[in-house]
Each structure stands twice: as structure tokens, then as C-alpha cells.
């Protein structure tokens, strides 16, 4: 019993020792994306064959991680949107165009998918990012979601999503 008590006390001492020299400055906050300067803006319209100019300013109190840009169709009207706005494009599809059109899109496998991971240089607390994403000529028109995911070095993530619309040239 004395031996057990002794072991328990040893473990307690180790634990106090560890907590005493523990680094208290752990990162507890996710990175930030500046909303005001963010491009594309919510509900922006692009023409097929154009280039989407992405621009954002991000920061973190400790160190930025990486980011990912994803553009996927929103023909089936799910949303991951972080913005509360309804651009009305979805409504147009739903109400004015018939369900046949809708169905065609939902099953269309040719919808444009863009998904790219980007590194941020190590050691940065702030960064301004500009990326040009050409919309391929074979892209199907319609509602899309533009999503930016940003991490910091500790593994916190911030998501920014906006709705965009792709038009046929000359539409």
C-alpha cells in the first residue's frame, strides 16, 4: 500500500512538474478572412471563358496554414453558404425554368468542378492572396458555390462561401 501511495505521489509530482513548465501560449483562435475586400463578391456573375479573379486578405494571431478553393455546382440547391443572401438565381431556376431543366442539371456530370489546394509560406501572420481561375469553355452554366477554406498552423479552419452564377457568353 505504501508502495502504491508512493507511486501515486510520484505521478502527481510529475504532473505538477509538467504543468508548471507548460507553454501557455497555445493558439485558440481560428484565422480571419477580411470580408470587405473579398472577391468574388456574393452573387457575382461570370461568363464562361472568363477569369474569376480571387482576392482576399487573411490573418492569424500565430501562423497561417494553407488554403483551398473549391467551386462546385449548386444545381441541386444544397448549400454550404456562409453568407445569408439569396441571389435569386436559384429561384429563377426553380420557378421559371421547368423541372426538366433542373433535372438535366442535377444528373449532368459535366458540371464544372474546381478544387485546388494552395500553400501559404511558413511563418506568416498575414497574407494577401490573388488567384486567377479561368472558367473553362466546356463549363455548364448555372448556379455555383465558391468556397474558400483557410487553416492556421494549429489546425483551426475558417470557411468563407459565396454564391456565384455562370452565364453562357452573350446570354
Amino acid at each position: 500500500m505504501k508502495k502504491n501511495l508512493f507511486l501515486a505521489l510520484c505521478l502527481c509530482a510529475i504532473y505538477i512538474g509538467f504543468t508548471a513548465c507548460e507553454n501557455k501560449s497555445k493558439d485558440d483562435t481560428p484565422p480571419m478572412i477580411d470580408d470587405a475586400s473579398f472577391l468574388p463578391a456574393d452573387c457575382d456573375i461570370y461568363y464562361i471563358g472568363d477569369t474569376i479573379q480571387v482576392h482576399f486578405v487573411c490573418s492569424d494571431d500565430t501562423e497561417l496554414g494553407n488554403y483551398n478553393i473549391e467551386i462546385h455546382n449548386n444545381f441541386d440547391h444544397h448549400t454550404h453558404s456562409t453568407s445569408a443572401s439569396d441571389c435569386g438565381h436559384e429561384g429563377e431556376h426553380h420557378d421559371e425554368e421547368d423541372t426538366e431543366h433542373d433535372h438535366e442539371h442535377t444528373t449532368a456530370e459535366g458540371a464544372w468542378v474546381y478544387n485546388q489546394d494552395f500553400p501559404i509560406a511558413r511563418g506568416l501572420k498575414g497574407d494577401t492572396v490573388d488567384v486567377n481561375i479561368p472558367v473553362p469553355v466546356e463549363a455548364t452554366d448555372g448556379d455555383y458555390h465558391f468556397m474558400l477554406r483557410l487553416t492556421d498552423r494549429a489546425g483551426w479552419q475558417t470557411i468563407k462561401a459565396v454564391a456565384i452564377h455562370l452565364h453562357e457568353q452573350g446570354e
Binding site: 500500500m1 502504491n4 501511495l5 507511486l7 501515486a8 505521478l11 502527481c12 510529475i14 504532473y15 509538467f18 504543468t19 507548460e22 507553454n23 501557455k24 501560449s25 497555445k26 485558440d28 481560428p30 496554414g65 494553407n66 488554403y67 483551398n68 473549391e70 462546385h72 455546382n73 441541386d76 440547391h77 444544397h78 448549400t79 454550404h80 453558404s81 456562409t82 453568407s83 445569408a84 442535377t106 444528373t107 456530370e109 458540371a111 468542378v113 478544387n115 489546394d117 477554406r149 487553416t151 492556421d152 498552423r153 494549429a154 489546425g155 483551426w156 479552419q157 470557411i159 462561401a161
Partner: protein, 723 residues
Amino acid sequence: MNLLTITCAVLLSIPASVETDTTDLQIEEVTVTAPHRHVSYIVSQSSVEVDADYVTTQMQGSLAKSLESIAGVQASSIGSGLSRPAIRGLGFNRLAIIHDGIRHEGQQWGDDHGLEIDQFAIDNIEIIKGASALLYGSDAVGGAILLSSKSKSSICEEKSISGSTHIFARSNNTLIGVSTQVEGTRKSLHSTSSPHTFYWRLNATYQDYGDYSVPTDSFEYYSYRIPLYKRTLRNTAGREADGSLMLGYNTRHWHTCLRVYETWSQSGFFANAHGLEVRLSDIDYDHSQRDIDLPKQSVNHLKMLWHTAYIHDNWGMEVDAAWQHNLRREESEPVSHGYMPTPPNSMERQFSKHTATINASARWNVAAKHTLRFGLQSEMQHNRRSGWGFIIPDFEQYSVGVYAGEEWRVNSRWTLNAGVRYDFFHTHIHAYNDWYLTPIGNTAIYQERSASLARHFHSFTWSAGVRYTHRGWTFKANIGKAFRTPIAKELGADGINYHIFRYEAGNSALNPEQSYQADLSLAWENDFVRVQADPFVGYFPNYIYLSPTPDYREGLQLYRYTQAQVIRAGAEAILTFRPWRHLDISVQGEYLFARQLSGDKKGYGLPFSPPWRLMPEVKFHWGKESKINNSKSKTIGKGFAAINVRVCGAQRDIVPPEKPTDGWWTLNLSAGQRFVLRTCLLSITLKADNILNTKYYDHTSYYRLIDIPEAGWNLSAMVGVEF
């Protein structure tokens, strides 16, 4: 002497020490007055025991939630009908659930899986805090919850058939349920020198609940405002049906028993944020609050157990054999993601897992003060998956463990125990490739998500402890090593978890997680006061942790399984004061601290760490008096009325992607009365939870990550008839 030896046999039976119904019956036959037994034989471990009355008077929708009012036990709820237990913050597969002597399979696979046990079919629950690997093998790192069913022969010993029915309702999720038990015994009239008894029991439970309500009209997630219709969480309704059968036969030295349990449940996941991402759907969720739309899960769990024991004065043997089948379906609306086209159906994931278990144990009283125990435990698992989502690969897993332990009853005050155990594991994980093509350069491939993998693991564990009891004092100290083997998901996952929208990468190089823990338990009681304190400290050299990385893979944040040193410490304390024979004033409290000491999350705590809690209660009871003892929280006497407050601290010690959670308190009332009606016993229990309708967040709740508050006020009622 006979009483003593048989009582010892009960105390010492391993590991199916939980499997005591037959033993109890035998005691009643032989001795008529059987003292209440301890379920676990390791007397140096800190443990809490509660009975069926405790569970029924808690009136919670699921078993783990019912156990939450015990200091040191936490429940992570998944909506209103499912919950997972944790002991001192360790849950999932760091906790062994032992049901009638057999390790229960079910809750340890994911964040949103419940326990899959009918809480009304349980007669006795013992919670063992601290490393319990010696008896229960892998997973019993945080402790073990021993669930046992036994024949309730105390109510009507003279009758050959007895039973009970409970009807219960909850206002918050408009739950209605019924549970019925019928049991009987038949004794052979001839050969009184060696009586034979045949006994049986049937149990059936059904409950149906609607969407649960929260004290808010809307909530915000990722700056997206989600309005709630009638303050209820869309699509959190569910239903559950359980049935069980028990058949047993006893003679003076032999008993054998067959049990079959079937649990079926279906429940919806909150529709607007399945996983972490906000979703809109064309489904009209608001047209009914009782229907279950997509996304949803359905669970079928079939378990068959067979137990046989031979108990003699100086030795005994037991054999348990069991087969379990977990069938789990998770359905959600098919949505294309990345290169995955829209799937053809809603079957996101299906698991079909078979588990076969054979355990054998023996006890030998080598001398008056020494008892030796030996045991062998073996298990085989076979898992097959289907559906368009991938997390857990197909696998087969075999394990065998042997242990030996000794108990030395030095004198009437001191007892020492110690034991060693060896385990061998073999896991074979199958390869899995995507069902859709991913373009890589100029070609497109079916990407491999899980590589074929075969691993062996060995583990050597031990435990030693001491117990001292004298004049109201009880002192226990235990130190032990526990372990768990990495599960298939941790070794072989390599894909997107659509529930949480993250990319999870397994690590085929993981080693078995080790844990060293020292526990103390100090209690003192007299006729008026009972005080107990249970501090502990534990160390993991290689805690398996799913660490969020700054990297992306296939458009989602990469989470990778790593191993890190972790230290944990904490304590529970209970104070009960009885100033008057009809009044109990008690306070329970718990505190837990955890730190990662190495790896990329060095300095952080552990996910789902419960903050400190205090549970003061004032209970007025009348009728028969009972001994003051909090470790067996029985419904006292004929009636009671109680008021209790739950105070929970803030949790700021978080790890990504958790959010800091503010502290909260809720006020709760309960009352109950029993009446004797001819030959029946009628009981009525009422309970009001969170009567101030406080809006609060539970840091350990599944929906915490998406900012959904806990349930608002709730009124429960139950009427029971025992016949």
C-alpha cells in the same frame, strides 16, 4: 460456512462476475437471505453501483444520459434519444461496456453512435473508474461499465410468475414509451437435497419521440442564421424497439443461462447541419415533427449470450459464449462532392459487423486467505461495409487474452490484490477503392482509400491494489496499466468523413495505446454524514489522437491519426449529510484536467473534455429508512421529493475544431410515490428538468460543434405496476 463460501463465489466469479442472476438465485435457494454482492472482484478499484430503480427514476431517453448524474460519468448526447457514456472524459473505445459478462459492441465507431442497449432490461450497473484491463482487456482504459440482468425474485418470491410494466412520457420531445417484463420460475418438488430451478424472463420496450425542442428560435452557424420551426430541431425524431429473452436452469452447483437481446432504433439527424456544413434541402421537414426524413440512421443489434458456471466450495469455473451482430445504416440525401458524382441512392454507409466471443475463467481458493483466478478471453470480429461513403474499411480481427490474479485477505481490515495479463491481436484490413473516377494528370483512377494491411499486436498489462475498511473508513488504492489496440478506422481510414466534412487519414504504423493510472478512494461515514473523495492521475505514453492539420486533401481539411503523450488528473467528491432521518442533503462534484505533452498539439487538452461539475441535491424521503450510502443510489422508501441543481463550469481548454463553452446551471425537480394495491405495487414518478428553460451548451454534446443549445425544459412522468 455455506453462506460464506457461496458469497465468496459470487464475489470472485470472473469475468462474468456480472453474470450473477443465476448465482443470486442460487443464493436465495440455499441461504434465503443473500447479502448484496459486489460485482467486480477487484476490491481496490473505485466503483459506483446503481440498480434498475435508479435508471427508471432518472427517466432519461437513453442509458448513458441516465448515468450522467453520477460524479465521474459523462454522457455525450446525439439528439434526444441517443447518448454515449464516458468515464472521466474517456469514452468511445477507451471504455469497455460489459453486458452480462460479454463486451458490448456498438457505440465505439463514431461520434454519432449511441449505446444500443435497452436501459429497461438492465437490473444492475456498476461503474468502475480507472484502468480495468486486467479483467476486461483492450479498451478498458478509462474504466468499465458493467451491466447485468438478473431475475428480480425479491418482489414475489412466493409466486411463480411476476412482472412489471412501465409507461413513460417526456414533454420536450413528446416521447411516449412502454416497457414490460414478465418472469417466472419453476422449482422441482422432488429431491429437496439438490433443488432444480428453471427460470425465464421476457422483456419488451418501445418508445417513440418527436423532434426535441430547444429554448431558441434560431441559431447561427458560420454566420448563417438557421430559423427553427416551433423551436424544435428539425428531423431529430426517432423510435426504438427492444426485446429480450432469458432462459435459465439451476442446480445446486451448476447454472446455465441463455439470453437473446435485440435492439432496433431509427432516428434522424438534425437536417440543417448534418456534419459541420450547413445544408438546405427540398424535403419539407416541418410538415411533421414525428417523421424521420433524411439524413437518418437505423441500427439493429442482435446479441445472443450463453453462460454456464460450476461453483463448488473451493473452486469454480465459468464459460461464456456470445455472438453479436451490429447492422447499421446511415442514409443521407445524395449530393455530389468534389469528383464524386451524385450517388444513385441515399445509402451513405452501412456496417455489418459480426462478433463472436468465448470467455472462460476459474477460481481457486488455495488457502483460507488466498484466492487465485485465471481466465481466457477470445474474440473474433468480421466487418463488411457498403454505401457510397467510406470511413471504416472491411476487416477481420482476432484477439486472445489470458490473465491471472490473486486476492489476499490479510485480515478483517486489509485486502490486497494483484494480477497480470497478456493479449495478442491480429487485424486484417481490406483494401478499398473509390467507386468513382478521380482525374490525375491525363488519366482517371479509382483512388485507393484504404490499403490492405495486416498487423499483430501484443500487450502486457498488470494491476495491483489495496483496500482497507475499518469503523466507517474505506480506503482504496489501485495502480494499473491498461491498453487498447488501434481500431480499423485509426489504422486504415483514408477518405472524406461526410458527417463532419473533413478528410481523415489513418496511420497504419500506430501502436497499441498504453495507459498507466493510479486511483485513490477515501470514504468515511457515520449515521449522519458520508464523505468520499476519489482522486486519480493517469499517463498515456502514446494516446491515439485525430489531429487536425493545417493541410488540405481533396478540398477538405486533413485530420491525421497521431500518437502523443498525454497526462490526465482529476477527482470526484461526494458529501452526503442526513440531519434528519427523512432528509438527505448531498453534493457531488467532479474535475478533470488533461494535457498533451508531445506532438503537434502539445499544450492542448483532449477533445470533448468535460468541464467541472457540481450537483447539489436536497432530497426528502419517507417510508422505510435506509442506510446512508451514496454509492448505491436506490430509491429510498415509499416516496421522495427532491430538488437538485446542476452547475457546470465553462470549458476554455479546447482543441481545434472545438469552441469555448460557457458555464451553465439548471434547476430540476423530481418526486415519486409507491402504493400497494392488493398484490401489486404501483409507482408514480414525476420529474421536471431545466424548469427555468435555461439556454445552455454542453461541451461534450455531438451538436455542440454546430452551435445548437441543449434541450429546454422537460416534464417526465412514469407510471409503473409491479405484479
